[in-house]
């Protein structure tokens, strides 16, 4: 029985009233033998079915079995057998893998923050890192622990180190963002080419035209992605790199202050030794060496004074620098962000225009 025309075929199809739905995926069984079963519901007014509505449960391999049976039937040769979907639809599940991973990382980031809030004592994570990074300084500090009269410096140093760590984390994320964006540029360009080829191979004129236009839209989007990547890089990555450099320099200043204090302490200690030496000489009654001893004392008293002044001076400078940095940081950050957002907004407005231009092309496919 062969319908003579397409119209006749369509008419016959209209009278074929079978409506099928696939719903309620459910896991069945455990472990290795587990599978997913779907509810297949049918509504039909056809006489060949005993009732008007009914449902059964089927698993993927059942669908595949149906496909195979139909394919093999000789009498059905000439018919195009609709293909079932692949067993695991990779693109669809990708999202859930990524979403889970992000949630996991977010959780671990949050608990790091909580830990940091609890302890800012000497052997916090930041302090430990400092010891590893500055080995020689660390040794010095451990042998001559600075007696900090002004807690402002200790607190600030901790802050600077913490901030540097946070910014490095941000920097790592931005680097990864820039890379992914470059990847997107690449894959968009490749996709655009594949669509151009498809458009060329296509027989149907309107479809061919639409596909070629699609390829052009994708090329324009690749351009947008390129600009976006540049923006990400030049605004954020560079900004963060600058801050990290500045923070490094500030850490250097703090170290210099500590070294100045050490020099001062060492000078004081040497002065003390010189005074003791003088006392010994007086006791031992060696007048010829006494003058040398007195000269030494004078010299070292001057040194002590100088070192103490240096220490104070550096302390003041460090305070000023920190305050200046914090002001600049806030202002700088905001102005860079405005620049970034502005660029993003323009990019999005251009995107809207691309889509508006493509829509009539898509609708025109007969």
């Amino acid at each position: 029985m062969q319908p003579a025309s397409l119209e006749q075929l369509e008419e016959e199809e209209d009278s074929f009233d079978i409506d099928v739905a696939v719903t309620n995926p459910e896991k069945v069984g455990d472990g290795m033998n587990a599978y997913v079963a779907f509810k297949v519901s049918t509504r039909s007014s056809l006489a060949m079915f005993r009732s008007k509505a009914f449902s059964v449960r089927r698993r993927y391999s059942d669908f595949l079995g149906l496909y195979e049976k139909l394919s093999l039937k000789q009498s059905l040769h000439g018919c195009i057998i609709p293909p079932p979907p692949e067993k695991s639809v990779v693109g669809i599940f990708r999202e859930s893998c990524l979403t889970r991973r992000y949630s996991k990382i977010l959780t671990s980031v949050t608990s790091w923050r909580e830990r940091r809030a609890v302890s800012t004592q000497a052997l916090s994570g930041a302090g430990f890192l400092k010891m590893i990074n500055k080995a020689s300084d660390a040794v010095n500090k451990m042998t001559v622990k600075m007696n900090e009269s002004d807690t402002w410096f200790e607190d600030k140093f901790q802050e600077v180190e913490n901030e540097e760590q946070q910014l490095r984390k941000l920097q790592a994320v931005v680097d990864s963002l820039v890379n992914h964006r470059k990847e997107l540029c690449g894959s968009t360009a490749v996709f655009a080419k594949s669509m151009a080829m498809l458009g060329n191979s296509e027989d149907n004129t309107a479809l061919s035209r639409a596909l070629s236009q699609l390829a052009e839209v994708e090329e324009k989007m690749e351009q947008l992605h390129q600009e976006q990547a540049a923006s990400d890089f030049f605004v954020f990555a560079e900004l963060l790199a600058d801050y990290i450099r500045l923070l490094g320099a500030m850490r250097g200043c703090f170290d210099q202050r500590v070294r100045a204090w050490q020099r001062w302490q060492e000078a004081q200690s040497t002065l003390q030794k010189k005074r003791e030496a003088e006392a010994k000489l007086l006791w031992a009654n060696k007048p010829d060496k006494l003058q040398q001893a007195k000269d030494d004392i004078t010299e070292w008293e001057a040194r002590v004074t100088r070192h103490e002044r240096d220490f104070d001076r550096i302390g003041t400078t460090v305070r000023k620098e920190v305050v200046r940095f914090e002001k600049e940081k806030a202002k700088d950050f905001r102005s860079q962000l405005v620049k970034y957002l502005d660029a993003m907004l323009q990019s999005k407005q251009r995107l809207v225009k691309f889509w508006e231009a493509f829509l009539p092309e898509a609708k025109a496919i007969a």
Binding site: F54, P82, K363
Partner: protein, 278 residues
């Protein structure tokens, strides 16, 4: 089996729709829907007899080595020769396009994740204290965190739109072309069988002649039947695929346009908020 723990979520909805589409196409087919196997599949409470899942569901006749030689066999009908040629070109192109599009979507998903990381990391930069500069910086960080959070949502929508419209469309088109390829190949095999039967009938010794003629007639009838059905199928297929692709492209464009407009609006608001900050 993928991620059996996420059965309630959106990903499975899409998969159910794909299975449903498969069944609907069969149910809507005037010839296929009458096959007993379909009735059993839809009604039998017992499992209808499973098929072991092989790596490639299309390891049909066309993949078997000895059969593959027939694929290039010259046709006797210009309509079918053209259709086979066209199908060959489109099958390859479409599969490539579908794969490359998936790459694009995966890049977009990675970017969405990176936005999420950035948004979360910015929370760490918030510093306590009443210092106005510190507060200004912290506020900027918090606002930026919100911006990146909405960027993440936007990028996720863009990727989802891609998957649900054009991605699905390209996938259906690709598998549709493969299905047509299968059908055309079966016809080609029958053609080869027919030509063999004709040769046998010609060369047959008088004793066998009658039998060979019978056999030849049988194959001729089968071949004519296939050609008749196939022509209808091809016409139907061509109309259906163009309509499907058109719908996919229109939906894709409309969804992305809406998402882009929403995103531009949101961005404008964020920008105003930033400019308004002291």
């Amino acid at each position: 089996m993928k991620q059996l723990g996420f059965l309630g979520l959106g990903e499975w909805l899409l998969y159910c729709k794909a299975l449903e589409s498969f069944l609907q196409q069969i149910a809507a087919h005037s010839i296929l829907s009458r096959n007993k196997a379909v009735e059993i599949f839809l009604t039998s409470s017992d499992p209808p007899g499973r098929q072991r899942v092989r790596k490639n569901i299309f390891n049909r006749l066309s993949q078997a080595v000895e059969e593959r030689r027939k694929e290039g066999h010259k046709d006797v009908d210009e309509f079918f020769q053209t259709e086979r040629h066209q199908n060959l070109a489109l099958t390859g192109c479409t599969r490539t396009a579908a794969e490359k599009f998936l790459d694009v979507v995966q890049s977009e998903q990675k970017i969405a994740v990176a936005y999420g990381h950035f948004s979360a990391s910015l929370h760490l930069c918030v510093e306590p204290g009443e210092d106005p500069d510190k507060q200004a910086f912290s506020n900027a960080c918090m606002k930026l965190s919100k911006v990146f959070d909405s960027m993440k949502k936007n990028m996720t929508s863009v990727a989802d739109n891609n998957m649900n419209t054009l991605g699905l469309g390209l996938d259906l088109e690709s598998r549709g072309q493969e299905a047509e390829k299968e059908m055309l190949f079966r016809r080609t095999c029958k053609l080869v069988e027919l030509e063999t039967a004709r040769r046998n009938a010609e060369k047959a010794k008088p004793l066998k002649k009658a039998a060979m003629e019978e056999a030849k007639k049988a194959v001729e009838t089968e071949f004519d039947h296939i050609c008749g059905v196939a022509k209808q199928e091809v016409a139907r297929f061509q109309a259906a695929r163009v309509e499907m692709l058109q719908q996919a492209l229109v939906q894709w464009c409309e969804k992305q346009l809406l998402t882009a407009k929403e995103s531009a609006d949101q961005f404008n608001q964020h920008l105003q908020a930033f400019r308004g900050m002291a």
